[in-house]
Symmetry: C2
Subunit: 354 residues, 2 copies
């Protein structure tokens, strides 16, 4: 068995589509979720790609997700809406939220759409980026689906890695797309280190006495560090209040750990903001001005040993292009697990490239 | 001369009001700016209090600020506005922006007001907090008025400490108010260390080879570090694009250093967002839910040696109460500089408490 397994975007999407349909999602919903998960994998967000298929399917099987949600707008004003996700797959809820935010921003200039009774939706950037084809700026915030962060100075894990993403359209440059957890490392990266048998660098986690925790296999003995210490703690809290509490979604001690609980409703909260630059001035001038900033930053004098200055989102952009052309590399153990899923569900397995 | 000089909030406000009026600001504008600067000092944002009086007056004198601005709405939709500050004092522009955002959010649910041709407006939290009496959430972002940050891996200082603030109303707890620069330390803190003859802790600044820079007197030989490394760089960039470029304000290489240039128009950009929780659900339930999160976090088990878990904004809240009751402590050298300003302008000096 080769060490490098490559699969095409289409094959990955089609396989996950088959799996979700077989698991009972309606055809259109299965395709939407599968496509977004394949896009996550394509852009290198591998913690949100096919590795999530098995846990998602388990949640569907154990009743933690509603297979036939009636996703509906519960509250609405000119520039806002609150969506009740009816405990459907988060991808469906947030795609709807992004589309509604864009539609409302077209008229109001800016729109903020919150969601409650949603679920894990994959990488934050997927939804922020949905504004780009409409020449709009997208902002996304979410309450993470497991608490790994205590308040600054504390030991009780009451906060999640609450991520934020922002996508800004450009003229000729790749769009500027920031997608970040408010912790130094996302928890998925810790799990990946454990899987690969590697140690973590200092600064990712500390133990309960404040000492650096380096062994990812001991991650449940400590917690993630927020970026900038108390600042990252503040950011995680604010994002949690805006994406969770404001929407009547879970936040703080009400967040259930989706790594261990597959049967209960998580009431995940997320928020999506669309901003129409054309409301603020000339769209082309704005996009050209972003290009200038990007080029100036990229052209910065560099520190010794630095080969290249990266823009936020630029590495994902390059991965998207390379992986679409040459296929997406999957670790053999992930492919094996996907094959097991295929066998369990009795669907055709994921097709690999020649 | 006593080491501790204490002044009342009213005396500080009245003194700065006298100074600005004498310098040529209209009465109402002088009072607005003086009040906001005194509020900054009251809450412990001493880098934005009376220490800024002399540089602000110099900017007024040298023509870098318009004494008689016609602050006007240039673009407007249901949920947004772009304000042209006509190069007036930033405090005037952003107070107007906050008021307009609240007014629009009352109808639209959410509103985003950007500003161009504004100026330095003091601490970010002042404006985010203006939403609180209206039971709204306030978000504020600004392009800083001097570049101290290169792109991650770079040496050319093209980014500022671009701060973000968010104020969230509560029921019985102090409001949650985050106010943070996207750098580990704000530049004002470096200047304060230099003034006190102290060294900086590792992690605040690095020199051009990437080594820690500890002597604040050598700060022009290096640059500030963003929080979370590349993440803080990404945040500073995004905030700059949203608060600056989107509004047609200065960003990147166009930002002039207001510490050395007092005569040219800075075209400062800021953005103010108001969110009405009453549009998303029951206001009292929301505020009570925030209280619960605050109390849960405060009640967290603590790390060894940690006396208390703080909420963002709680220390400022306590300073506000203590300083209003007992007066604001000013360093003697600051009082001496304010006395010199009084003498230069021929206005009555700042009154100290008995």
């Amino acid at each position: 068995m080769s060490q490098t397994i490559r699969v095409s975007f289409d094959a990955l999407r089609d396989f996950m589509d088959r799996a979700f349909r077989k698991a009972g999602l309606p055809d259109a919903d299965a395709l939407t979720v599968a496509t977004l998960m394949a896009e996550a994998e394509l852009q290198g967000s591998d913690g949100h790609g096919s590795i999530r298929l098995a846990p998602y399917l388990r949640r569907i099987r154990e009743g933690g997700v509603n297979k036939h949600p009636v996703i509906r707008v519960e509250k609405e004003k000119a520039a806002m809406a609150l969506i009740n996700g009816d405990n459907g797959m988060g991808h469906l809820v947030m795609k709807r939220a992004a589309e509604l935010a864009v539609e409302k921003a077209r008229t109001a200039g800016v729109a903020w759409v919150g969601a409650r009774l949603s679920n894990h939706a994959g990488p934050a950037s997927l939804y922020a980026r949905m504004c780009l084809p409409h020449d709009m700026i997208g902002l996304y915030m979410a309450v993470g689906n497991a608490n790994h962060l205590p308040p600054w100075g504390g030991l009780t894990m009451l906060l999640s890695t609450n991520p934020v993403a922002c996508a800004i359209p450009t003229a000729k440059e790749p769009p500027v797309v920031l997608d970040m957890a408010t912790t130094v490392a996302a928890y998925g990266k810790v799990k990946a280190k454990a899987q690969r048998g590697e140690m973590m660098p200092e600064g990712w986690m500390i133990d309960r006495t404040g000492k650096p925790l380096l062994d990812p296999k001991r991650s449940d003995e400590g917690f993630l560090l927020p970026i900038g210490g108390h600042k990252g703690y503040g950011l995680a809290l604010i994002i949690g209040l805006l994406a969770g509490t404001l929407n009547g979604a879970a936040m703080g001690k009400d967040v259930i750990d989706f790594n261990s609980d597959f049967a209960n409703v998580g009431n995940t909260g997320q928020a999506m903001v669309a901003i129409d630059p054309a409301a603020f001035g000339d769209l082309d001038e704005f996009k050209a001005a972003v290009d200038v900033v990007v080029r100036d930053l990229r052209g910065s004098e560099r520190m010794p040993g630095v080969e290249r200055i990266w823009m936020p989102g630029e590495q994902s952009h390059e991965k998207r292009i390379a992986n679409r052309a040459g296929g997406i590399a999957l670790p053999p153990q992930l492919k094996a697990s996907l094959d097991k899923t295929a066998a369990d569900l009795d669907v055709a397995p994921l097709e690999v490239m020649d």
